[in-house]
Amino acid sequence: MNSEIALSLSDVSFSHEKGKALNETTLDFRQGKTTVILGPNGAGKSILLKLCHGLITPTSGNIIMHEGYSRSAMVFPKPIFLRRTVLQNMIYVLDTLDMDEPAKIAVAQQALKKFAMEKFADSPARLLSSGEKQRLSLIRALLLEPDILYLDEPTANLDPHATRLLENMVTEGHENKTTIIMATHDLMQAKRIAERIIYIENGSIMEISNTVDFFNNPKTIQAKNFVEGKLY
């Protein structure tokens, strides 16, 4: 059963001063599905996520957010926080929603608890450890209850336990109908959670397959080498 299309890219490309970072790309993302983007450093994964999330505008082509799926949030590899406490950073995000102050605090605290971060509520967010920051960034994204959640290397700095927590959350995401688009370098992780893999290299999509196919029978030589760790 195919779900509705939440986001479409048609002929999207992106260039910066130094050249082209993404070649003409046409793609659909279906509601509630988990897509993992794989590829070497500098392949264009982050650029692709940023384009979808609307952080950067394509040099050419169109990105269509389909009705009912316009709420999106993103976890960055280098999360940015305001010079405030952890709790205040959470509340800041909630200010966009229609809630009274005590409700916001309650929601924020509950969210912190879920990722074992409640004891940091009053710590300055910018002084947390790398893993704590990444957790916080995830919590912040979830507060927005996004239809589409972009995850850019979200477990790069997480310990094994927190990584599992995040992966569980992603798997549960199906029930919440959240569309998840994630870039990672952890092949095992991709295997565990992805329903679909997009393999990208040098700004071009080389392959789009379901996860089992991708790992068992990569269609391209590049993907094959990458999976076997034989890049270059």
Partner: protein, 239 residues
Amino acid sequence: MAENSDYFVQSLYLIFSLNNDLMEIIGLSLYVSLTALFLATLVGLPIGALLATKKFPGSNILNIVINAFMGLPPVVAGLFVYMMLSRSGPLGILGLLYTSEAMIIAQSILIFPILAALSRQIVEDLNNEYDELFRSLKITASRRIRTLLWESRVSLLTVLLAGLGRAIAEVGAVMIVGGNIEHSTRTMTTSIQMEISKGNLELAMALGIILLFLALSINLMMHFVRNLHQKSQGTYRDE
């Protein structure tokens, strides 16, 4: 020089027997400069922040013009206000010339570019850092500006102090639109000017030193308020 320092000691003595006239003058100086700072801040900071965060047709030119207006001579600001408020001017009927209101208007015009240009720079630097976050959260332009101003408030304090310094030290504009009228528009700086033209250089110097002490106390106060606030929140040490 020995004679000079004698005069100086005399002047200081004269001053420290703080008489009512002096208190009145100090009060007016503070009132005019702080009100002007307040008004200019109210307009200058948002405009600075707007220019820092938005590119729009002409924003580049506006930037350059505001930078240039930091070089607006006080007397020219004064003259402009004079021409507006004088009886033959468009706002003549208000009868504001040679009142403290006129001085406040002139000083506000004078320090507005300083506040706008310098806050633009500081907010722009911070905006570069936070840009992805704001865009990801789809924050509105006005909220972005409010957030940036709040986050950079410690740095902006130095900008406010620069504006206050300019206002409180300024004499050209207040002289023209205020007129240094005794018991009405006489400020510290116009008094200093007057004593200089009388040749009372030591008295002028002593008055100048009082003015500096005034600026110093305001700075000290702000410093302590800031520290207190940081302590009470415990969280505003930047990385």
